[in-house]
């Protein structure tokens, strides 16, 4: 009789453990999804800011016409990108160009004295930061999830319910990480 109770107790404890681990995995996976959605929100914000930016700097930055044009094109590409890998590529291009523009601004003292532009520049800096922080947060969440999924004993539950590894958001092109070069021509 006692043996039966002990077995029953063990079974109940096991069930609780399985439920707990399953829920932990689900919670972590939702956080990964959430973080991914955050990246999208910030990218959209950048798309919304760009026309305003171009409008403000157009009159000042006469020598950067080409950069401005390529920003407009890159924005259009990024917005119309269909697949995720296309999108990552187009947004990477845009990040690169925006960095270049921010450096180029240094050569235009008039622009830097313009109150509207300063406010806009703060928004831009912040949006670029938000994009990279949302990417960082996504990678953090992926790391937590994958760690949990791969370590004992949760890996058994993950195997039973077919949880898959999530992939990190890597910047593919090594050159993108480098400081953008500017040529004043």
């Amino acid at each position: 009789m006692i043996a039966l109770w002990i077995i029953l107790g063990i079974v109940v404890v096991l069930i609780f453990m399985v439920v707990g681990m399953y829920n932990a995995l689900i919670r972590l996976r939702n956080q990964v999804k959430n973080a991914w959605a955050q990246i999208d929100v910030q990218l959209k914000r950048r798309h919304d800011l760009i026309p305003n930016l171009i409008e403000t700097v157009k009159g000042y930055m006469v020598h950067e016409r080409q950069t401005l044009e390529s920003i407009t094109n890159a924005r259009a590409n990024a917005m119309s990108a269909g697949t995720i890998s296309d999108k990552i590529k187009a947004e990477g291009e845009l990040t690169n160009l925006m960095g270049r523009l921010q450096v180029a601004v240094e050569a235009y003292p008039d622009l830097k004295a313009n109150q509207n532009f300063l406010a806009l520049q703060e928004e831009l800096t912040s949006t670029e930061n938000k994009i990279s922080y949302s990417r960082q947060s996504y990678n953090d969440q992926v790391l937590f999830y994958n760690n949990k999924k791969q370590t004992f004993p949760t890996n058994i539950i993950a195997g039973m319910f077919n949880f898959k590894d999530e992939v990190f958001f890597e910047i593919q092109d090594q050159a993108e990480k480098a400081v953008p070069k500017v040529s004043f021509s």
């Binding site: 959430n34 928004e123 947060s137």
Partner: protein, 399 residues
């Protein structure tokens, strides 16, 4: 972050239990001293726990509100200081918080900041006008990251409860000591030698307990500061920002008049610096700033928690664990990011003016830039429709 929070809770739980034992012991001995035959000891424990329970209920429910109103902080909208809101949101994203914290500005020139809120969903970040005037973008980000780390690591919740427990211990001891001196007239008949001895023990405990509780509280607080620094760097990936922010805050000698020893752990730097006092002594709520700066600057190779731990050991020479071990194994070495390169105002005159302007904005002043270069500052309760520029006499309309 999850592992670190759990490990944190385990460690804090130990210190917290120690404080709890002090509290219960105090109630037990005092109750016993008054009524050794009956259930005095039992009643004493109940009363001690009741006092703690009621106080912590109040603190948990309205602790943030009390702290904000005590420090004279005002909730602001993004237009008062857009950069502050941007930085807060960046850190919200980096920390993976779902809700945007409320942002408050404190109208004082002393640079400091604190966080409040029991959970990440009802977080509050408060900074002083003096801080905003002095920091550049990277430094502000470092400060905000430190404060939000306190919320994410559940430091605020824990420090509030620990602070309340310390408060309860202090109150009980105080009441007992006073009643002992004032209530001498209340005859205690039948109390033999045993009761006198118990009363002496109670007396000793009532004197020692508050000191012990405070030392424990400060010890917990110091550890939390290192951890918040480490988490801040992990979020910003830029240790120099926080390091130079701390440097700027340290070089300012103004005290925050509205802070006290219990609320001090919530601030980024000890708001109560006394000159000539050694910052590293046992009754300090914060580790010495110079040490915090040196650790941050010694971080090499990455912005992860493990990197901070390594820097901590090499700078202090101590083998203490600041970051709970579980987290160390699964951290990569995140790369540093580059500086945002936005300069702050260097000279003290501009700083003072900027800080003053921010305070006026918080108080809903309207700013009008006149073409002659004059900046008009109109108070919110100004009733006229137009105002003349005192320098050139041009009429300005007030929206």
């Amino acid at each position: 972050m999850w592992e670190i929070i759990k490990a944190n809770q385990r460690k804090s739980f130990f210190l917290f239990t120690l404080m709890g034992i002090v509290l219960i012991g105090l109630g037990f001995v005092i109750g016993w001293g008054y009524d050794p035959q009956g259930g005095g000891a039992f009643i004493g424990i109940i009363v001690a726990l009741l006092i703690f329970g009621i106080m912590s209920l109040v603190a948990v429910k309205s602790g943030a509100k009390i702290m904000l109103s005590a420090s004279n902080a005002k909730e602001v909208t993004p237009d008062v200081h857009p950069q502050l809101f941007n930085v807060v949101e960046e850190m919200r994203i980096a920390a993976g918080m779902t809700k945007m914290p409320k942002v408050y500005i404190i109208n004082t020139d002393a640079p400091n900041a604190f966080a409040a809120g029991m959970s990440p969903d009802n977080a509050v970040v408060a900074v002083t006008a003096g801080l905003l005037a002095r920091m550049n973008r990277d430094e502000l980000q470092g400060v905000i990251a430190h404060e939000m780390s306190h919320v994410v690591n559940r430091d605020i919740r824990f420090m509030t409860l620990a602070g309340v427990m310390m408060g309860a211990i202090v109150i009980i001891s105080e009441v007992f000591l006073r009643s002992l001196f004032l209530g001498a007239g209340r005859g205690r008949k039948g109390g033999g030698q045993g009761q006198i001895i118990i009363m002496i023990i109670a007396l000793a405990l009532a004197i020692l307990a508050p000191i012990m509780a405070q030392l424990l509280y400060f010890a917990i607080s110091r550890k939390r500061e290192y951890l918040a620094d480490a988490s801040a760097v992990r979020l910003t990936r830029y240790p120099e920002g926080l390091a130079s922010a701390l440097e700027k805050i340290a070089s300012n000698t103004a005290e925050m008049p509205m802070a006290n020893k219990v609320t001090a752990p919530m601030y980024i730097c000890n708001p109560l610096k006394k000159k000539g006092m050694k910052m590293s002594d046992l009754s300090s709520t914060h580790p010495p700033i110079s040490e915090r700066i040196r650790i941050l600057r010694a971080m090499a190779g990455g912005a992860g928690l493990a990197n901070y731990q390594k820097a901590f050991s090499s700078v202090t020479g101590k083998n203490k664990t600041i970051i709970p071990g579980a987290e160390l194994n699964n951290q990569e070495n995140p790369e540093f990011r580059e500086t945002a390169g936005m300069a702050a105002f260097a000279d003290s005159k501009t700083t003072a003016r900027t800080s003053h302007d921010i305070m006026m904005k918080v108080d809903n002043y309207t700013f009008i830039n006149c073409d002659c270069g004059m900046k008009l500052k109109v108070p919110a309760d100004f009733t006229g429709k137009t105002i003349d520029c005192p320098r050139c006499g041009v009429k300005h309309e007030i929206q």
